[in-house]
Each structure stands twice: as C-alpha cells, then as structure tokens.
C-alpha cells in the first residue's frame, strides 16, 4: 500500500486529494475531494493523465488573424506538444463559429479540435 498526494485540477478550487494505491498500483481509495469529479480525476491522474488543450489557428478572411480553439475532450498529457504541431499546420477560412470542428480526430485520439470563438 502507498499513498499519493494530488491536487484536483478539475476545477479552480484545487482540493488536496490523497489516493491510496495497492501494490499493483490499483486505486484503493480517494479522500480529500469535495465532489465526485475529484474522485474520478484522482483515479485518472494515477492511471492515464489527460489535459484539455487550447491554442489558436490561423484564419483567413476575418477581422482577426487567429481564432481560438480547444480539444473537445481532454487529450493524453504526453501528446500535448505533438498535438500542438498538428494544430499549428491548420488554417481555416472565415466565417468560423463556436463549436466548428477545425481538425477532426487529432492524432487518432478520437478527439476533435473545435473553435471557441466566432471569426
């Protein structure tokens, strides 16, 4: 048995969460979280950590040179910089609306990159 101290980052409150793992690194218990998102975050973070990715892509024909984008769902943490390379290759044509997919299924993660503003 061992314990791991984590800070839940599912929301900006940032509860201090303690995870107890057994000898096979399976989660035994999670304490310190104040809502159930904290529980699932802690389990996830100990097995396969993920992050939301946000950036911008170039846009042609808009009053702005770039439009902000995000991953529609979190992507594996170790793929963040690789995803950025893909995102930086994209150029879109105005008009763009919030929620439009600008890059589908990035790096075969099953996650789309979507616009987060109108341009």
């Amino acid at each position: 048995m061992k314990t791991k101290e984590l800070i839940c980052v599912s929301c900006p409150i940032g509860c201090a969460v303690t995870v107890t793992l057994d000898d096979n690194n399976e989660v035994v218990s999670v304490t310190g979280n104040t809502c159930k998102r904290g529980d699932s975050y802690a389990r996830q973070e100990c097995t396969h950590p993920e992050r939301m990715l946000t950036s911008t892509v170039k846009v042609i024909g808009s009053r702005l040179p770039v439009v902000p984008v995000k991953s529609a769902k979190p992507v594996p943490k170790e793929l963040l910089l690789d995803c950025m390379q893909e995102i930086n290759r994209v150029t879109v044509q105005a008009p763009v609306h919030i929620g439009d997919v600008v890059l589908a299924n990035i790096l075969n993660t099953g996650v789309d990159i979507v616009a987060t503003n109108n341009a």
């Binding site: 839940c8 900006p12 950025m84 503003n117």
Partner: protein
C-alpha cells in the same frame, strides 16, 4: 441628451451579467457602453478552459463563456455601443462618452453600474534596474499578442510574479515552442491558483522560484537577459545569490489594480485595501443609484463569481429604479487577524436574501477556524484546512440572522489557530 433607466459602463462579463439581470427584473431602457470593439472584456484573450464550472457546470474557454452572455444580450432590447469610451460620470449621473459614430455622447441615467474591470500593474510600479529594452511587457499584454494578434513576442522567457495570468502564459508560450526558463515569485508562496501551478508549470517542468525576484534587466535595444536574486524575509535581495538568466522576454504578472479613475470622478468611496469600491449587499456604492461589480470592485480569480456578483448589482439597480429602499439601518463588515478585506463592506439588516461575505486572507493559513462574530456573539464558525491569498473565499450569512443584529453592528470576519 439621451435618457436611460440604466447605463452599464464596461461590457465584460460583469457588465453583461448586470445588464441581463436588470433586464430580467423589468428595467426597460438599458445601455451598455464598451470601449473595445466587442463585448466580452478580458475573457476574449483568455482562450484557456476552466471558466464556468460553477456557473454552467461546464468547462468553457473565456470567449465561449463571454459568448453565452453576449448572445443572450443581443437577443434582448438592451442597447449596446462598442468602440465607445466613457470619459466621465457626473455627480447627478450624467455619463459622458465618446466614439467615432456619435462623437461626444451624454446620457442621463437613473442608475449606473460600474463594470470597468481592472488592469495590470505595469513595470513602472516595480523598481528594476536596467534600460527600457523591448521584450519587457505585462503577461496580459503578451496574452493579447499571442491569442488575439497571433504572434509570438519572444523565444526565451522569464516570468516575474506567479499570478494566474503569468502561469497561464508560461504554458501558452511553452506550447507555442518558446522556452520558459523560470517563474520568479517575490513571496514565499504563489499568488496563483493551485490548479494553474500544477497544469501550467509542473506539467512542463517549468521551475517556480519562490522568494526570488528580478533585480536587473540587461540589453539596450532588445532584452538579452535578467539578473535574479533570492530575497530575505523583508523581501530584500540577498547579496551573493544573484544569477544571470539569458532571455529575450520578461513578462510581469505582479498583480491587478481595479480601474477606478471614473469612479473617483463620480465621487464614489474607495476601499483602501482592495483599491476597489465600498458597497452593500446589492453592490450599491457610497453613492445612491451607482452600483459596481466584477474586477472594478474586487479582483476576482473566478469569472463565475464575477457573474454571481454582477447579477446582484443588476438586481440592485432594478430595485433602485423601482424605488424600493431597504429600511432598518445597516451593519458594517471588517476583516481581522489574517483576513485582509471583506466585500460587501456594508449590509442592510432588512435585506431579503442570504448574504455571501467574500474575503481574502493576507497569507497562507492552515488548520484555522474561520469565524464571523458580532460583539461577543459568534454567528458562524468553520474549520478551514487551508486558505491562500490567491483564492477568494466566502461564508454565507443568513438573512434571518442579519435581521436580528443590532443596528450599526460591526461584523468581524476573523481566523483563529485551531
């Protein structure tokens, strides 16, 4: 001169929520004045996610959060003028503004909501030796360059100050291929949210150096490097700890100041601790019919709380316009023993709602009991595992408790070691 029931100064999240709430509460003629070319305020450049978890139960980016409100607002008959700068608010609520379309504009308002937000403390507010090389900017300015204008302000970066904007920019610059060499923080703790320290620094192996500051910048035309040094408990640089770090960009994330030049000219009382305004539970300032919300009132780190607060201001303005006046005297609030300030500073005893007292602590406090007392009586007592200056906290005071307090009572929000 134009006539409106309510004029809202500033079209950020605070101004939009206040206007929408007043509209919902039946105020007919509402005008929102915004100096930028769109509604949304600073959220337009905050493209990271983490907004709206409390309010919408969803993790939105800044522009998405703002769009929820601007889209709702444009569906109403609320008038909006963008590219319009408010210059003055007179003693009798005449708002003077200027834009390219109307020229000089004067508006007589029954009520005014101040929602001008805040700005970043500039370099001039610090004393760092060195010439004015390019490459030194506030983190918010860098955020605008990267996220709105679409260009990178530098390749190797040192960030002074561990406020949230600095932390967010450390990650943003790293993702775009820059090398962030260090985030230096003068205090022994970070002023940013813990979540940002984990996600923006630890994830990318960016060192956070506490009790450390920049003492000199090098380079004449373009920044070439900075000298950093550790500081002692009096925040003075310790000789012998100097270290030179080559970099082409220095970003400052050293605090926000409420933008209150207009409020001063309107004759509204300021709180010397928050640099914001003194308000009651409906966010009415010291001046009748003038309300305030968002960062102009107190610097918020969560936009969700800005929205909540701004709806109060909108509802308060609607009540004022309807001619409802709270009766029964007021109580005042004050922070003591680690609690730096409390908002609202004044509460009407006969208020119709439970009141959230928002506050910040002045240093990191662990295992303390937070109390709200009135004279000898303890009204609220809560155990707190940890409170940090970076995070705004609140306790809720029941309307039924408030009503029983003596007139002119002083409520003290304080902490005790457990």
């Amino acid at each position: 001169m134009l006539q409106y029931d309510l004029v809202v100064v500033g079209g950020g999240p605070a101004g939009m929520a206040a206007a929408l709430q007043a509209h919902e509460d039946g105020v007919e003629k509402i005008l929102v004045l915004e100096r930028a070319d769109t509604l949304g305020g600073i959220l337009e450049q905050c493209i990271h996610t983490g907004f709206g978890l409390h309010y919408f139960g969803e993790e939105l980016s800044g522009p998405e959060y703002a769009a929820r409100f601007s889209e709702a607002l444009y569906k109403t008959n609320i008038d909006v003028k963008v590219d319009t700068m408010v210059l003055d608010i007179s003693a009798d609520n005449v708002v003077t503004a200027v834009n390219n379309f109307d020229g000089l504009l004067t508006v007589k308002a029954a009520a005014v909501v101040l929602a001008m937000g805040c700005r970043e403390r500039p370099r001039g507010a610090l004393s760092i030796a060195g010439s004015r090389a390019s490459g030194i900017m506030t983190a918010g300015t860098a955020q605008k360059y990267v996220n709105i204008d679409g260009y990178m302000p530098g390749k190797t970066v040192v960030i002074l100050g561990s406020g949230d904007i600095g932390l967010i920019m450390a990650r943003r610059m790293t993702l775009e291929g820059a090398k962030v060499k260090a985030v230096c923080e003068l205090m022994p703790y970070s002023g940013g949210l813990t979540r940002n320290i984990v996600q923006c620094l630890e994830d990318f192996g960016i060192p956070l150096r506490l009790s450390c500051t920049v003492i000199q910048t090098h380079g004449k035309e373009r920044l070439e490097g900075v000298t950093v040094a550790n500081v002692d408990e009096h925040l003075q640089p310790i000789p012998g700890t100097e270290e030179y770090i080559p970099c082409d960009t220095l970003m400052l994330s050293v605090g926000l100041i409420p933008e209150n030049e207009l409020s001063k000219s309107a004759g509204v009382a300021l709180d010397p601790v928050t640099n914001g305004l003194v308000v009651d539970e409906y966010r009415e300032t010291s001046k009748k019919g003038v309300f305030a919300c968002g960062n102009v009132l107190q610097v918020h780190d969560l936009v969700d709380y800005v929205t909540e607060e701004s709806k109060l201001a909108g509802a308060g303005a609607a009540k004022f316009i309807r001619g409802e006046k709270p009766a029964g005297g007021t109580v005042t609030t004050v922070g003591e023993n680690g609690v730096r300030y409390v908002v609202p500073q004044r509460i009407n005893r006969a208020t119709d709602k439970d009141v959230k007292l928002y506050f910040r602590v002045g240093r990191v406090l662990e295992n303390v009991t937070l109390t709200v007392t009135c004279g000898e009586e303890t009204l609220i007592s809560r155990k707190k595992r940890k409170m940090t200056p970076g995070e705004m906290e609140y306790v809720t005071l029941k309307a039924s408790v408030l009503e029983k307090l003596p007139e002119d009572a002083k409520l003290v929000v304080s902490t005790k070691e457990a």
